[in-house]
């Protein structure tokens, strides 16, 4: 998958590139409005990440232009201006998603995965973990035809870990995903642990959950 990152903050662009590279995305970088337009003329991309605040132009203009040259690409708007108007404008112009700075790269990647599933029609089968099967589309977890009831947040957590399987996710990354833009200044809470404990309790009734690992001091991981 080819990704164009239009972001004037170079360090940030490099970090995004480094992270996405590990998941085998090919990244091009553009550090300003003009360079971004140029790259869009030259290449076709699957994903285009656009920072709205560029020194020489408005990212929304790029979005308008790019829609013509790269109509099949998926667009994610990235911005520090998180006001509603920008968000609505961006989505109206055909952006697929919207991320407010600062975000976790993990969150960026899972948004991209979600868009890819939706946009590129990647057929989704049941994903097996241990003796369970997870249907991400229908938001179900099944053990031998038996549906297991998880709360909304519990399922969100589980599917997020599953999307990033074999990677340790920290509590802050997980809670950011669960809370989204909601402001909660209670940073040291252990509610992620509470949710994981509940997930384990509900699943352990049916089968073991050794695949859901606690990595001491760091966070959680689904191992496969």
């Amino acid at each position: 998958m080819k990704v164009l990152i239009i972001e004037d903050e170079k360090t940030l662009a490099y970090e995004m590139e480094a992270f996405l590279k590990k998941s085998f995305y090919l990244c091009d970088l553009a550090h300003n409005f003009a360079k971004g337009l140029e790259q869009l003329e030259l290449n076709k991309y699957d994903f285009i990440l656009i920072d709205l605040n560029l020194p020489d132009g408005d990212g929304l203009e790029i979005l308008k232009n790019a829609k013509k040259s790269n109509p099949d690409a998926a667009y994610i708007i990235i911005t520090a201006r998180t006001n509603l108007k920008d968000r609505v404008n961006g989505l109206d112009l055909g952006a697929d998603d919207y991320l407010a700075k600062p975000f976790y790269l993990l969150e960026l990647q899972s948004r991209m995965q979600a868009i890819a599933r939706r946009k590129f029609n990647i057929a989704e089968e049941l994903i097996p973990i241990g003796k369970f099967n997870v249907d991400l589309q229908k938001r179900l977890i099944i053990f031998e035809q038996q549906q297991i009831e998880l709360s909304r947040k519990e399922f969100d957590l589980l599917s997020y870990l599953l999307l990033h399987k074999n990677r340790v996710l920290t509590r802050v990354q997980l809670s950011e995903h669960i809370w989204g833009t909601f402001v909660n200044d209670d940073y040291d809470s252990n509610y992620i642990d509470a949710h994981i404990k509940n997930i384990r309790k509900k699943l352990n009734v049916w089968a073991d959950t050794e695949w859901l690992e606690t990595v001491r001091g760091v966070g959680y991981r689904i191992k496969k």
Partner: protein, 438 residues
């Protein structure tokens, strides 16, 4: 008391006092005037007699006799002219009694001696005292009547004038001081008045309000700009740490250190986000058009926060009317407001404590929601400042209100809600949010 009321009372009171004084003094005054006037007429009559005597000689009166006397029909006046010893000298007006045809009457008598043909004569002119005062009563009544009409007239004029005079002041109070909403409207129109004092007052108020606005805008812009500026470096730090952590060959010690750093960055991020939220609320970037049922809102919050209630074994009792509806609000913001309050109610509660959420309609149509906990409480000295940004109480070392209550306050202000807090150390705290009548 309002200025116009005070002026009205004063004007009416002072006029009434004058009337009273006049009524008390009137009989004495009238009597005085009547007496003065009588003396004056007596003197006039004396002069007349003397003029006649000078012109026509004494014989004009005497007609051959050696004295002269005459009185009116009812004996109200008399005149007497008679020779006296040459060394007697008189020029007086006195009240005295006279016997006229076997009637003893009280007279005001003018006695005057004069020389004519080397002989001394005494002239006496008298007027009964009863006749002097005969006009006093009607005069008094008439004077009183005129006075009362005049007083009523002046009171009416005064009151009208006072009203016109203080009208600009009422306008100033109405438009600047009561029902004011913060932040104040910019470019307020000056109130038209020719009274320089009011003009000055109004100008000063407008100036003060615009200065307050300016300070508020400055702070708002600063918060907004600063938090935006901070977001980029926070982003970089956060993403760098994330990339570092995803390196698979890290030893445990280093990954734990990175986790600690991520937590700190996260904390920094949350503070910045909170400030941004406050500045966005103050910039009125949220739409207030939704309709919500508080009961459903609380159920949602409790579901969200359930694990924390379990963790501390806290009982929550929700006693909110299922029919209550809040209109013209922003659901996300109200969620945040009550989430923060309930969150605090858990955070500062004791293990196995309780939280009570209830609502009621007040007599004036306002709607009130109270959240009471059985927690540590807030000392009296801290109560005034808990809604301020970054205010920490000294209750427990590391526990602070942070920005949670500052967010509550800005959301409440944005929705024109009243917040109040009551607390008793060791017993608990009650937060009350009042929604104005729709």
């Amino acid at each position: 008391m309002k200025l116009s009321t005070k002026l009205t009372l004063f004007i009416t009171g002072s006029k009434l006092a004058i009337v009273l004084l006049f009524v008390l003094a009137l009989p004495f005054l009238i009597k005085q005037i009547a007496s003065q006037y009588t003396n004056y007429t007596l003197n006039q009559q004396r002069q007349k007699v003397l003029d006649i005597v000078n012109k026509n000689g004494l014989d004009y009166y005497f007609q051959g006799e050696d004295n002269y006397g005459s009185y009116t029909m009812l004996k109200e006046e008399f005149i007497a002219l008679l020779p006296v010893e040459s060394n007697l000298k008189m020029d007086t007006i006195k009240d005295s009694q006279r016997l006229i045809e076997s009637d003893t009457l009280n007279y005001r008598v003018l006695s005057y001696t004069f020389k004519n043909d080397n002989k001394n004569y005494l002239l006496e002119i008298g007027k009964t005292t009863a006749s002097i005062n005969q006009y006093n009563k009607p005069l008094q009544q008439f004077a009183l009547f005129v006075l009362i009409i005049l007083i009523v007239l002046t009171i009416l004029i005064d009151l009208t004038f006072v009203r016109i005079l203080v009208r600009p002041l009422a306008k100033i109070i109405g438009s600047r001081l009561t029902n004011r909403r913060f932040p104040f409207k910019d470019n307020q129109e000056q109130i038209q008045t020719s009274t320089t004092d009011f003009k000055y007052l109004d100008e000063s108020l407008i100036l003060l309000m615009s200065q307050i606005n300016e300070a508020f805008y400055k702070e708002r812009d600063f918060t907004s700009n600063a938090s935006h500026e901070l977001m980029t470096p926070i982003s970089i730090l956060q993403n760098k740490l994330e990339n570092l952590l995803s390196n698979e060959n890290l030893d445990e010690e280093i990954s734990l250190a990175i986790i600690e750093m991520m937590k700190t960055v996260n904390r920094l991020k949350n503070i910045t986000k909170s400030l941004l939220l406050i500045s966005r609320i103050e910039n009125e970037q949220y739409i207030r058009k939704e309709e919500i049922k508080p009961l459903l809102l609380f159920k949602e919050i409790i579901e969200e926060i359930d694990h924390r209630l379990e963790e501390k074994h806290i009982q929550i009792s929700l006693n909110v009317s299922p029919d209550a509806v809040l209109k013209g609000v922003n659901k996300d913001l109200l969620f945040q407001l009550f989430f923060n309050l309930i969150h605090n109610a858990i955070k500062f509660n004791r293990d196995q404590g309780e939280i009570f959420i209830s609502d009621k309609y007040l007599n004036n149509g306002a709607y009130e929601i109270t959240i009471t906990d059985t927690g540590v409480g807030i000392p009296k000295d801290d109560l005034v400042s808990i809604f301020d940004r970054f205010k920490k109480t000294n209750l427990q070392e590391d526990v602070g209100y942070g920005l949670g209550l500052a967010i509550v306050k800005s959301i409440a202000m944005y929705h024109q809600l009243q917040t109040s807090v009551q607390s008793e150390v060791g017993k608990g705290t009650t937060f009350t949010i009042t929604f104005p009548k729709v």
